[in-house]
Structures are given as structure tokens and as C-alpha cells.
């Protein structure tokens, strides 16, 4: 039985850490697993593009745009709303929190806007996303 990769596995975290460091011009030790990519590392929108590109090449995966939000929306039943006028519903927040277990629950506050979701992203978020995509790719190949 092949075990799925773990986000903290050096083979995963090390590559993700390197991608962030290269894209943001940081030293490796400045990129920690729990680092918030905007608040702590100073990433902006173009940096996220660069990081995604580097991770796709490093792991030979395809990272869909808005993948994390999509994962949250996929958890909704038909007719259930993820957001209204750009503000997450209570259900949307719940589903997003499920999709991002690496983020402390307290940060998923009422009134959270869709545009603010990237502020929650950690390096760990990308590690988990990479693991999920590697695992999905493995299942498709099997």
C-alpha cells in the first residue's frame, strides 16, 4: 500500500519552501511551515502566480486557479451559497475552514470576504494542496 505524501514531509515541504524562497527572494529559514504568505512573507498576487508555476514544474502537477476555494465550494449541496455579494456565508466559512485545517478556526470570522481569503493562506496550505494533487494524480494513474 502506498502512503499518500504528508505536507510536512521534507520531500514536500522542502520543495515548497524552496519555491517560496526563490519567488520572494527570501532565505530558506525565513519560510516556515506556518508562515502566512502575505502577512509574514510579503507575497503579492504576482508572487502567487510565480509560486504556482514553480510548484507545478517541481511536482509535475497542475494547480487549478482558485483550487482551494473550489474545494470549499465542492463541499456544498445544490442550492447552498458559498458567498453572497463577495462575503462568505456562514456555510461558506464552515466549508472553507474544512478545506483549510492548517488555519486556526478563529481566523474564519463572520463577514470574511472572498477577496480576503488569500490573507489566510500559509505555506502549509500549499503543502497540503500539493499533497492532495499528487495523491489525486496517483489515483488517476492507478
Amino acid at each position: 500500500m502506498i502512503h499518500p505524501p504528508h505536507p510536512r514531509d521534507p520531500a514536500i515541504f522542502g520543495v515548497v519552501q524552496d519555491a517560496f524562497a526563490e519567488a520572494l527572494g527570501l532565505d530558506l529559514d525565513e519560510v516556515e511551515y506556518e508562515s502566512k504568505i502575505i502577512e509574514d512573507l510579503g507575497a503579492e498576487s504576482l508572487d502567487l502566480l510565480d509560486i504556482v508555476f514553480r510548484l507545478e514544474r517541481a511536482f509535475d502537477i497542475k494547480i487549478p486557479r482558485g483550487g482551494i476555494e473550489s474545494a470549499a465550494r465542492d463541499g456544498l449541496e445544490e442550492g447552498e451559497a458559498y458567498e453572497v455579494n463577495g462575503v462568505l456565508t456562514a456555510l461558506g466559512i464552515e466549508k472553507l475552514a474544512e478545506a483549510m485545517p492548517e488555519v486556526p478556526r478563529a481566523e474564519f470570522r463572520e463577514g470574511l470576504k472572498v477577496a480576503e481569503v488569500p490573507l489566510l493562506f500559509r505555506v502549509a496550505t500549499f503543502c497540503r494542496l500539493v499533497c492532495h494533487l499528487i495523491e489525486s494524480k496517483g489515483r488517476q494513474s492507478a
Partner: protein, 318 residues
Amino acid sequence: MGVRRLDFGLYGSRHGRDFDAGRICEVSMPGAAVGEIISVPWMPHELLEDQSSAVDAMAEAVDALSGVSAVGLGSLLAVVGSRGEALASRVDVPITTGAAATSWAAIENTLQVLDWTGEKSVALLGFSGTVGETVAAGLKRAGVEVTATGRGRALARRAEEMGVGFTSIQEGVSSHKVVVGAGTTGSVVEPQWMQTNSVLVDVALPSSLKKGERPTGLLILAGEAMDLPKGWRRGFWGRIYHLLAGYGPHQIYACLAEPMVMAAHGIDEPFAQGRKLSLEKVDVFSEAAQDLGLEARLASGWKSVEKKHFAHIQGGVG
């Protein structure tokens, strides 16, 4: 020097999709350099969703060119694939993104605004980005009191290291008469945050200002504009392209000049590639550009602005 003709139909189908690059027009500075504007006709979402294929497409376009000494990347092509680095690793010609020229024009234009208004300080948006950070450093070096805006510990630390102030966007914008919008994320400023009789030096797209009623006397300038180089030739379709691209009849975006300056001077080291950009690179571009008679241009839309347009701002109360 320069780029030569290339023909349509040179490219085959790759990756299961038809790919065709288009020659939009030839541009030239007589006696200096000749260039061509090439389009890679992908929609923005296509470029963003499949950066690897976008880089493949760009590499195909570059490989089909012959005799070129520099290639500049515009719009989203300057962003995808690690801001030119991935493409540069695939081709033998220097790849430059235009960030040095944009920063140069933004610094020059802002300094002119400060000179004409008598203001000594600016609030700067987009400090987290390449151009924003470089413009902040350039203005500070010129003796301007810079307040960078944004959020987060990382940016605050970076501002402190640079020796510039740091505050929120709203606070920065509302407390300065001159605001430099150098961010890559547009629509970050509520119009009512801007002071009356203030200036927004808005560098490139997207626009920093959200939609809404603007305060009285707000002057919005194209921060990255350059005077159309003397003798610049662009042909009929080039003129159409310039207008449709928003350049206006008498100016260009500075980034367009970056590969031309490289070709004219035989410079094979890119001015800008990747995330980091040093002031030294901007200085090299500045010297090379001015040697060719290129100048930054203060413009509001298509119209150039002069000192008289700032009369209501000089010494005005916000």
C-alpha cells in the same frame, strides 16, 4: 540589432491547440534600432491557467525570430513563467520585462510632480511588488520622504530596512497630496480617500482607483508614460495598435522602449527579469535611454501636462 521580419504561418500546432503568433507592426528609432511588436494571441485566463504552455508559446515565437538582439515582454507575458526567467532559460536571446523602464519613468515623473507642486513627500502603493519597491528606493535616494503602504509584518520590516515610512493604504493616501500607485493589484483606493487638489501618479495597469465620485481637483497621471521617441516609426498598423493599446498619439509606455534601448546600445544583459530589480539596473537604463534622447512624459490620459496644470495643487489645502 533589431528584429527582422517574420511570417505568419511559421508556427505549427502544438499541445493540441492551434498556435499562431502575429506580427502587429514594426517600430523603429532611425539610426538606433528596429523592432517588431509580436502578439501571442492567448486570452489572459489561458496564460494564467497554463503558464507552462504559455512559456512554450513564447519560446516558439522567439525561436522563429532571427537576428534579434533583445526581446521584451509585455502585459501578462512579462508575468507568467516567473517573470521572464523561464523563457530566458529556454532561448538564446536576452529577455527583459520592462520593469526597469517602467520604474525609471515612474521615478522621473513623480520627481517632476513634486518639483511642480512643491510637495516633499509621497505615499506609495504597491510596495510589495517589483516596480513599487524600486520606485520607493529611487524616490528615497532622490531625497523624497516616502511612506510605503500595505499590510503585514514582512512589508513593515522591508520598509524599515529601506528607511521609509509604512502605514495602511487608507492612512497613507489620505495624508499625502501626491500618491504613487505602483501596485499590481488595481482598485485599492477609494476615491474619497484622496485629498482634494491632489495628484495620483498611476503607474501602468491596473488603475489604483476604484470607481466612484472623485474629489475636486484630483489629477490622475500616467506614471509610466514616455514621450514618443523622435523619429519613431510605426507604420499604419502601428499607429492603430498604439491607439488601441491606450498609448495615445504622442506617447508610449516606457516598457516598450526597454528592448529597443538594449538593441540600440548592444546591451545583452537584461534590464529586468524575475522579481528583483536593482536601482543600478534602472540607472543603466536611464543613462542608455537618455543617451538616445528618450524622456519620461507627464500625461493625463493622452494629454501632456505642464506646470500650470498643478497650480491648484501648489500650497493647496487638502
